[in-house]
């Protein structure tokens, strides 16, 4: 079978396992329900969303100023600040810091940015051991897979899958599925890596322009352990992670985990401002397409994203197609509006991987109009000639018909007549009619409403 080309084809592979699809859908719906309970218990939640949205809009409108303010404050704190225009430069900078430190062992805590930049393969290719220390990240790293979710990177895997992976890579007992024992095995394995690491790499949840500090949120404490032990800390951040003031942060810490997992706050919310004596703290600020997105008025707001994953948990498509069906670092609805900015042709099917139900927009803690942007990306893709030919020409034809009442009337009558007399096996042939793979077509009535209405008018009868 040839490689799947688009979201629909990749989804079909996921859907083959009906039971696993059900499990995946229910697992993520469970997370969505936890989010709902946390939201319902916070009466000011909608005000917080508005405030967060306003703060992010404001920050993006003056991003250059805040970036400079951040750099000045960070430098004054003894932090080394690096700027990377793209993924390649980011990877070069990080490798350079690692080499300068004379290091060959790195532990990394969770960072979608380094996934986006494909940092791990770059470091490995240059002889640096890099170990992901977040449990979910470590599981998929052992399996050589990409994360399928921004907060729950291994959510596509069951405990049986993890048991199999740990048996293969960590030498646990075959068939072990007890989560506590599996976690303990991971802890023991990772503890040795933490102790040996010379450099700790982390992501950044928020960067504060006023203080020059970066804030890292984790539930496992893995970032803190790694950073506390290693001599060198490299914090990698997308340039949109800024907040103007430290006091703005409270709005976001209240929203982030309530939206992500339904917790009131992450277990660890760590602020890194100055390196300890004898230690180094580096911050790498990455553009990698963000300036270009900032320059697209219809899509700028996508940069407000705080990577909570709520849009994935709520998306009825994501829950049934899995994160890998998006074939992009950030899956789900937010990934579908970020990815065309990076490579429009490659990701052309993603804005169509949605019913435009709008649930993503309603859960988004920073009020990104995700479903509106999905609709607008469709128009951009249409204008750029990136729609499948079948869609393009059928829509042109449909438009001609629908602008001409007589054609519409004749076409409708022909379709109804056709459906009544064409054999069911032909009208419902799955090869020609994707509707009919799982559904019956409507039973065609003899008369359209307009025919009925005309007949009523011709023979005035008592109404009703």
């Amino acid at each position: 079978m040839s490689q799947p080309q688009n979201h629909a084809q990749r989804s079909d592979l996921f859907l083959l396992d009906e039971e696993r699809t059900t499990w995946h859908d229910e697992t993520l719906w469970f997370v969505r329900q936890k989010r709902d309970r946390a939201v319902y218990a916070t009466p000011e939640f909608q005000e917080l969303r508005q405030l967060a949205s306003d703060i992010k809009d404001h920050t993006l409108s003056r991003l250059a100023e805040y970036l400079e303010q951040f750099e000045d404050a960070a430098l004054a704190n003894g932090v080394r600040v690096h700027w990377a225009a793209d993924a390649a430069e980011h990877n070069r900078i990080v490798l350079g810091i690692v080499r300068q430190a004379g290091a060959s062992r790195v532990v990394k805590s969770k960072s979608m940015l380094t996934e986006e930049c494909h940092l791990n393969p770059h470091l490995l290719a240059h002889g640096v051991e890099v170990i992901d220390s977040d449990l979910g990240e470590r599981i998929i790293q052992l399996r050589d897979e990409a994360p399928s979710h921004v907060v729950l990177p291994a959510i596509h895997l069951k405990k049986e899958d993890v048991g199999e992976t740990f048996w293969q890579h960590l030498g646990t007992e075959k068939g072990l599925t007890d989560p506590q024992q599996l976690t303990e095995a991971a802890r023991q394995h990772l503890r040795a890596k933490f102790l040996a690491a010379e450099v700790a790499i982390s992501g950044v949840n928020f960067a504060i322009a006023e203080t020059g500090s970066v804030v890292v949120c984790t539930n496992e404490g893995n970032a803190d352990l790694a950073i506390g032990l290693a001599r060198v800390h490299i914090a990698c951040m997308g340039m949109e992670k800024l907040l103007p003031r430290l006091s703005d942060l409270a709005v976001f810490t209240r929203l982030l985990t309530r939206s992500a997992t339904g917790q009131p706050i992450t277990t660890y919310t760590s602020h890194f401002t100055k390196p300890l004596p004898g230690r180094e703290l580096h911050v790498v600020i990455v553009d990698n397409g963000r300036s270009q997105q900032l320059g697209r008025p219809d899509f700028r707001a996508s940069l407000k994203c705080i990577r909570c994953g709520a849009c994935m948990n709520t998306c009825p498509v994501y829950r049934r197609s899995g994160g890998h069906s998006y074939d992009f670092t950030i899956p789900g609805p937010i990934g579908a509006i970020l990815s065309p900015n990076i490579d429009m042709r490659k990701h052309a099917s993603l804005p169509f991987a949605s019913t435009l139900c709008g649930s993503c927009t309603d859960v988004c803690p920073v009020k990104i109009d995700i479903h509106t942007q999905l609709y607008k990306w469709r128009q951009v893709l249409g204008a750029e000639g990136m729609l499948p030919a079948s869609k393009k020409y059928s829509m042109k034809l449909l438009s001609r018909v629908l602008a001409r009442p007589a054609l519409f009337k004749a076409g409708g009558a022909a379709a109804r007549l056709g459906l009544r007399f064409v054999p069911h096996a032909l009208s419902h042939a799955p090869g020609y009619n994707p509707w009919a793979i799982a559904r019956e077509l409507p039973a065609p009535p003899k008369q359209s409403f307009r025919d009925w209405h005309a007949a009523q008018a011709a023979t005035p009868a008592p109404t009703v």
Binding site: A8, R404, V464
Partner: protein, 246 residues
């Protein structure tokens, strides 16, 4: 008050009984709605497919057809939402602006314009209400589970007011059915799976009659019900309310 009935293209061709019920229901409530017969479609199928530019002649045709009416009433939240929300890409002449605000969903028209919040009648069945996303989240016709645990909405109240009618309480009150316009064929696998899950939620909780304000969602769900030969009737809410009202 000059009122036109806007009958979505697929309703005209495949579900004439829904348009007939809408017309009759309005008549019983004292509104004689006209049916301008040059009407075709709102243009949503093209626009949702990324061909908004191709839809422009259809938008103009819609405005030309309906500009002389005070209200344009359609039994389809999704089509109404499209006119109100997405006719922003053509010149905003007074006629366009008027048609965009005058186009109203049937149950919004009944409850908000006519001020009718209760329809006397009897319908002794267990009814499952399927909220259309464009009606609920687009036109704000019902509360959203993303915001509040309270399940409320105008159509829910109208139906609950009928004697003998019991509403089904679903596990997922406002999950999308997976129709999504051309999504239903371009992502046929996911679309079908979503619809199957939606129908299963109704069956699990005893729905006998599945209804809603948007025949497009219902066409998709009915297609699944009929393929699997499930014990469910699928009716537009206008059919239920018109049938119940003497």
């Amino acid at each position: 008050m000059k009122v036109a009935l806007f009958v979505p293209c697929y309703v005209d061709q495949f579900y004439p009984q829904v348009a007939i019920a809408s017309l009759q229901l309005l008549a019983k409530l004292g509104v004689a709605a006209a049916f301008p017969k040059q009407q075709t479609c709102c243009g949503q199928p093209m626009a949702n497919s990324g061909c908004e530019q191709d839809a422009k002649p259809v938008y103009h045709h819609f405005v030309d057809t309906f500009q002389d009416y005070d209200y344009v009433v359609g039994p389809a939240g999704s089509c109404v939402y499209h006119v109100r929300q997405h006719f922003d890409i053509i010149d905003q002449t007074p006629a366009v602006q008027h048609v965009r605000t005058a186009t109203v969903e049937l149950f919004d028209f009944i409850t908000q314009v006519l001020g009718v919040t209760e329809i006397p009648g009897r319908y002794p069945h267990k009814v499952g209400l399927h909220l259309s996303c464009h009606g609920q989240r687009g036109l704000h016709q019902a509360n959203e589970s993303e915001m509040t645990p309270v399940r409320d909405g105008q159509l829910r109240r109208l139906l609950a007011g009928l004697d003998g009618l019991e509403l089904t309480e679903l596990d997922r009150n406002d999950e999308c059915c997976g129709f999504g316009g051309t999504f239903c064929v371009s992502e046929a696998g996911i679309s079908a799976r979503m619809g199957q899950d939606r129908v299963a939620d109704h069956l699990r909780h005893g729905t006998q009659v599945l209804t809603g304000g948007d025949m497009s969602c219902l066409m998709h769900l009915e297609g699944i019900v009929r393929r699997r030969q499930l014990p469910l009737r699928v009716l537009h809410a206008a059919e239920i309310l018109n049938g119940a009202l003497a």
